[in-house]
Symmetry: C2
Subunit: 226 residues, 2 copies
């Protein structure tokens, strides 16, 4: 990471600290960094091949989003550990925000959105069949947020994004314990049907049911693994 390089050739494209943020975010969501273990700025920097500076920026952001925790005593970084209490709060918050976003998106659902959702739902099914955890989580995430984006509610959308980031590690735990075929009951079709009819309350119910089932499975997995 110490060779001479072209420094900062691009202006409009994303900055290095954003790439680092995304890299750590993905590592967190897919569970590549296990909860409870400590990380350090320099080790992350070395691993990603950048200087500690952009890592520092990215970590600051992740800490603000509660995706990383910082020990107030020795100021050392770590991945927040998974507790039933934390999961309960995250579940409840998700169960309010995400159905709300789905309901707000329903009036603006058009053919292009439904097409995209069908594609993503197919990707979800494929990943489930193959047992590909990473692919499932990515596709599932994309499905939900392709929908939520249409709500045109930037503030709520950001809150939902923060919640997914915090709940990512829990998902990995579920897969590690019950396997990918543990959560198949597909409410996505139900949601898409409601969207096609511009049925806001139907979309709200479908997403609520989808989340509720998933979170229940997570709760079982977390309590069992204690």
């Amino acid at each position: 990471m110490s060779e001479a390089k072209s420094r900062k050739p691009l202006a409009d494209s994303l900055a290095v600290h954003d790439q680092v943020y995304e890299a750590i975010r993905q590592a967190l969501i897919t569970g590549r960094i296990a909860p409870g273990v400590g990380v350090s700025l320099r080790s992350l920097a070395a691993e990603l091949g950048v200087s500690p500076m952009p890592v520092r920026d990215a970590v600051r952001r992740l800490v603000a989003e509660r995706a990383l925790a910082i020990n107030p005593a020795n100021k050392r970084l770590s991945v927040p550990s998974l507790t039933a209490d934390r999961l309960d709060q995250l579940s409840q918050a998700r169960l309010w925000i995400e159905p709300e976003l789905a309901a707000r998106a329903a009036p603006h659902a058009d053919a292009a959105l439904l097409k995209r959702l069908r594609e993503l739902d197919a990707a979800v099914d494929d990943a489930l069949k193959l047992g590909d955890v990473d692919a499932y989580m990515t596709a599932n995430h994309d499905f939900h947020f392709a929908l939520y984006e249409r709500a045109g509610a930037e503030v709520l959308l950001a809150m939902a994004g923060g919640l997914w980031l915090q709940i990512g590690p829990f998902m990995r735990v579920v897969f590690g314990r019950v396997g990918a075929d543990g959560l198949v009951a597909d409410r996505h079709a139900e949601a898409m049907q409601a969207l096609k009819a511009h049925d806001a309350e139907g979309a709200r119910r479908a997403i609520a049911a989808d989340l509720s089932e998933g979170m229940d499975k997570m709760r079982v997995a977390v309590e069992a693994g204690r």
Copy 2:
């Protein structure tokens, strides 16, 4: 800011970037930095008498919390502007989270909490009588969060904190337009009564009513000032 200084004499106390964070946060909440205007790292640093470095950390955090916005084109910082749409989303989120926190706190309400709440409510009344905007906002904030802290729900509490930070500038607008005596109807007494009886639903209703009235006044002020 360039004189020789003792550097970093304290370990357990709060770091410089945390002090800077708190300073900017207060400036934002009390409306000392008007929405829409641009700020810069170096100007903030000079104003606070520190190097740009801790300011950078604090700003990173505030941007993640959506208390500051960053123009994606020229990457310049600014305070988010107040729109009716944003207020609507923030209102809705607050109206779910904060009553929930109040309800969760009710079972754990003890004499010490009620004493503290009475003091803070008195401070709120005093500030209203004197027309002291800063004091009102501080006391009102402290009242709500002294209560919310007792819920023992760290995740939800942090979400509520983020929402107050985003809604702070709106409050200042309300005061600027309708004056401090515009929002007097005191639901705090109602809330405290419910807490004393460990009545979770009563506390939920009282806080919801308190918020609802305040947010309605803000909506009127924002729409009128457009």
